[in-house]
Amino acid sequence: MTTVLSSGPVPSGPTRRGAARVLPGFGLTLGISLLFVALIILLPLSGLAWQMSQLGFSDYLRIISSERTLAAFRVTLSAAALATIFNACFGLLLAWVLVRYEFPGKRLLDALVDLPFALPTAVAGISLVALYDKSGWMGTLLDGMGLKVAYTWWGIALAMVFTSVPFGVRTVQPVMESLSHDIEEAARTLGARDWQVFRHIVFPQLWPSFITGASLAFARSLGEFGAVIFIAGNMPFETEIASLLIMIRLEEYDFPAASAIAGTVLAIALFVLILANLAQGRASRHLNGGA
């Protein structure tokens, strides 16, 4: 949009920057931004990388492939996957209700969605335990049906669901709000049933944000600590999550092992986010007027 003025190739930096410049002080703002990114994000990460580099590759493999670590990863990944699927679907539904319908208490419900972000995760964990423990009222209820949630894999998944609810809703909601009604009406005049309109018209437009929401929820669930450890039971090989194992290794002053596990969690999270980014780019190729 800003290239209208320059017809030929742009030879020098200043001209291009001059055209794109809206706020004064590009150098200053970018410099501060980069400093922040470096201090807040990159420095801790490089600390982790440095710790990992102390480790040989065979040591890394030995730590990662130990029974206990593998079990922790299995528990964490499977629970996070379930929580993600649940939140992606539930988030879509909740966003739909919030966007498409008017009802008393709608704004309260809308505000409640953010609560898992605002609440300290430990508080969430403790309340979940109080609720789902054998003496808690949900726990008593489920116990009667022969189900056990607290101190099992299901408890872990539940805590992950709780902490990542907002991702499922808040990523899809704005896109849903911006959908034009014309398009759905056009589909209806062409003979599409309600579910066909959703399946062929509405959902494809939400898909990019749906993927983003799901991947963020997954990444968050992978690393969730506070909410999970209270309800997990934390039995090695069974209900021990990766984050807890990192904590345990740290307490044993086994920094290399802790960093190996942490680095792996980070790599998985990054991998999922990058994958989601690629998928999102593909899916939104033709949306938003971008050719």
């Binding site: 034009s180 014309d182 398009i183 009406e185 056009a186 589909a187 209806r188 005049t189 062409l190 003979g191 599409a192 049933r193 066909q196 062929h200 018209i201 494809p204 437009q205 033709h286 949306l287 938003n288 007027g289 971008g290 050719a291």
Partner: protein
């Protein structure tokens, strides 16, 4: 008699937008609903389409009462002001959409669908655009795709909601002729909503002039000019007389 509109009344809250509207159109006729904004013409079109329902009155098509029938079952092709193209689908898929959505019992098979789509694109002279996406089309091309998509369902009636308003004057004039030709070729009735007198006079067999939720007069362009029924009509059409005398009409 194709479409019959009897005493259609519509309120938005306490605000009456349509006041006992009556209108009958012949098979294959091209009708324009012409009026200033807020006159109720778009509401009337949406009620005919089945996207909204009237608070009173009756709609019938070929003798069948369609007052409460869902838009999906009316088989009226509609072109929206915004064109409402499906941005995530190619032109071919946009046009094929209506056929693909049919219940399995009367859905053509894949080969038939693609044949039909080919033919339609040829007819609308956009066959070279089949693989493009809506974001890669010009305004005029988008309009043609929207029209072709509406025609693909073999509609019983064509509804056009200000289909030219987003185009520049030059493109607009060319497309008007093309629209009229297509409609003649397909042989179905059409209802065009517009606020542009020139457009209505050039394209329509009969024009319904609307104001304040009522049809002020429904007649051929010539008769409207010769004998306006109300002061509103004569005032609204002021300036059109000289246009028509100059021979620019149909």
């Amino acid at each position: 008699m194709a479409l019959h509109i009897e005493d259609i009344t519509k309120f938005y809250g306490t605000n009456q937008v349509l006041d006992q509207v009556n209108l009958s159109m012949q098979d294959g006729e091209f009708i324009a609903l012409l009026g200033p904004s807020g006159s109720g013409k778009t509401s009337l079109l949406r009620i005919i389409a089945g996207l909204q329902f009237a608070d009173g009155g009756r709609l019938s098509f070929d003798g069948e009462d369609i007052t409460g029938v869902d838009a999906r079952l009316r088989r009226f092709g509609m072109v929206f002001q915004s064109y409402a193209l499906f941005e995530h689908m190619s032109v071919v898929d946009n046009v094929a959409f209506g056929l693909k959505m049919r219940p399995r019992a009367n859905r053509p098979n894949k080969g038939e669908i693609s044949d039909r789509v080919r033919k339609l694109l040829d007819m609308a002279e956009i066959s070279e655009l089949g693989e493009r996406f809506p974001s890669q089309l010009s305004g005029g091309q988008r309009q043609r795709v929207a029209l072709t998509r509406a025609l693909a369902i073999e509609p019983r009636l064509l509804l056009l909601d200000e289909p030219f308003s987003a185009l520049d004057t030059k493109v607009r004039k060319g497309l008007r002729g093309a629209l009229r030709d297509l409609q003649k070729k397909v042989g179905i009735g059409a209802i065009l909503v517009t606020h542009d007198q020139e457009e209505a006079f050039e394209i329509a067999d009969r024009i319904a002039i609307m104001a304040d939720g009522k049809i002020q007069q429904f007649d051929t362009p010539n008769n409207l000019l010769r004998s306006p029924a109300t002061p509103f009509v004569s005032e609204f059409l002021e300036g059109m007389g000289s246009y028509h005398a100059a021979g620019a009409g149909i």
